[in-house]
């Protein structure tokens, strides 16, 4: 099986910008907010939102923590300048440290999750100020791997990137004019110094995207992926990651008691009536 993750970027851009415009305006909104980290995912979401609604109807929110790298702020500024979107910078240090400082023994994972959730609070608060919707920045790779903070960076009103692998995000970002330095730098959640996604995950996005494409899109059995040339440990590890993180891709479980229960047999699209 030839694994080809190439996408037609014109078609992707057309569908995703129309998706944003359509779904934001039909629910009565005209404004979008993007938490802009200076990474490729949020930069691309910002580009798509600006294309969909016009830059004046988009607000990029920068939310640095005291340990955030200076590059992140600079790269986010490049995107803001290039697109001409509105921007606001709201540091989360005091908000996050209000909790972090109470637990001196706190590990990086807890601290990282608090930062991600602090940013969610800021973003949703700002969405009230500008009467806009929060546009998501999570890609298909991280959603499948569960490499997100639940109710943190995964929180949004709608997400144009959720069906694009990281490899494809880079491709679309390049086509839309996201600065090269942003596309080419090592992906990082920037939650602590020196953190990189690929270092933490233990594999590269290029590798795992090819495997995910077989497992998910092509419905390959794990043993067929091994036969296709992926190492057994790698395949087993990724399959297990997907299984263990299923909860992050779902709404909280509701225990069924009545004859009609939200999520089981009370079924309507969000676009109901529009």
């Amino acid at each position: 099986m030839k694994i080809d993750l190439t996408i037609n970027t014109d078609l992707a851009c057309q569908i995703l910008t129309e998706f944003l415009r359509n779904e934001i305006t039909r629910s009565g909104f005209h404004h979008a907010l993007v938490g802009l980290s200076g990474g490729v995912d949020s930069s691309l979401s910002c580009f798509l939102a600006a294309e969909a609604l016009g830059p004046k109807n988009v607000t990029a929110v920068r939310m640095p923590y005291k340990s955030s790298s200076a590059d992140s702020m600079e790269h986010a500024q490049m995107v803001i300048d290039q697109l001409g979107v509105n921007s606001i910078t709201i540091p989360i240090t005091e908000l996050a440290d209000g909790l972090i400082d109470q637990f001196p023994e706190m590990n990086d994972r807890r601290r990282g999750n608090i930062m991600a959730r602090a940013r969610m609070i800021v973003l949703y608060d700002q969405s009230e100020v500008s009467r806009g919707l929060v546009v998501g920045t999570g890609n298909k790779t991280e959603i499948l791997l569960g490499y997100t903070t639940l109710f943190g960076d995964s929180a949004s009103a709608l997400n144009p990137l959720g069906d694009l692998y990281k490899t494809q995000v880079r491709q679309l970002a390049a086509a839309m004019g996201v600065p090269k330095v942003i596309i080419e730098k090592p992906p990082t959640a920037d939650l602590w110094l020196g953190q990189t996604d690929e270092g933490e995950l233990g594999f590269t996005y290029a590798e795992v995207d090819r495997l995910l494409y077989l497992l998910v899109d092509q419905r390959y059995h794990p043993r067929d992926c091994v036969e296709a040339g992926f190492s057994e440990d790698f395949v087993r590890g990724v399959v297990e990651r997907i299984r263990r993180s299923q909860y992050k891709r779902m709404l909280p479980l509701i225990a069924k008691l009545s004859n009609r229960t939200v999520g089981y047999d009370f079924l309507y699209l969000r676009d109901w009536g529009t």
């Binding site: 080809d4 037609n8 129309e18 998706f19 779904e23 069906d163 699209l269 676009d271």
Partner: protein, 287 residues
Amino acid sequence: MKLTLGLAQINTCLGDVQANLDRHLEFAREASAQGTDLLMFPELSLTGYVLQDLASSIAHRASPDDPVFRPLLKASRDLKLDLLVGFVDEDSRHRFFISAAYLSQGEVVHVHHKVYLPTYGLFDEGRFFAWGDTVRAFDTRFGRMGTLICEDFWHASPPYLLWLDGADLFLFISASPGRGLSASPRLESAHWVEFINRGYASLFTSFVAHTNRVGFEDGLTFWGGGTIFDPNGDLIAQGPYFEEALTLAEIDLNQLHRTRGRLPLLRDERTGLVQRELARILGEERS
């Protein structure tokens, strides 16, 4: 004989039948002003597609006393425009069918109930709707036609049955969610539907018209791109992808005469052989 066929590629409001009816009447007036004889709307054009628990509350009967069909029937008479519309039909036993109604000169000529309800992948139609159980061609003032709804023509047998039942013009309607993004400028779902419609036109030496809706429902995008193929399998009209549009084409029904004179596939079709072998195959399955 010639007729002007119109493909209405509309967006719909999910569950708002009145808003969708208004849109139908707007398109009908516009099409009529441009000399259209027959205007086709997409699958579930009066209701929207992912209806789920809305299914029972937006159902209608294709009859003159129905508040939605009354103005449509009136339009078909006043505008001298035949209409094919998509809706949810509730039968007298209160079963709900994904349906298409052909209206002409103030009369309901034919109602088709979708016979294949996709219930796999992103589709869940079998959970909410009843399965139709007839595939019938019908006579119109332009000749004998057949209509099918989306998944109906992903299976080869319904178009084949319509062909044997005398349909020379196939009216296919869809609410097809776009999927399969690759390096190609066309989605895989669009490629597949165009490919098989060209195939049916060629194999059945018939006209095959297809219209598909546009717009979004939550994260689903509907790709439009309606087509009309002639009995040679040649594309004679195509609507744009993703945009609302009214696409018109003049159809020369004499092309049936010319193509079938050259290529007598219908004449030579061995229906008795099909019937014998089918009986044997189904008989073997039972034993």
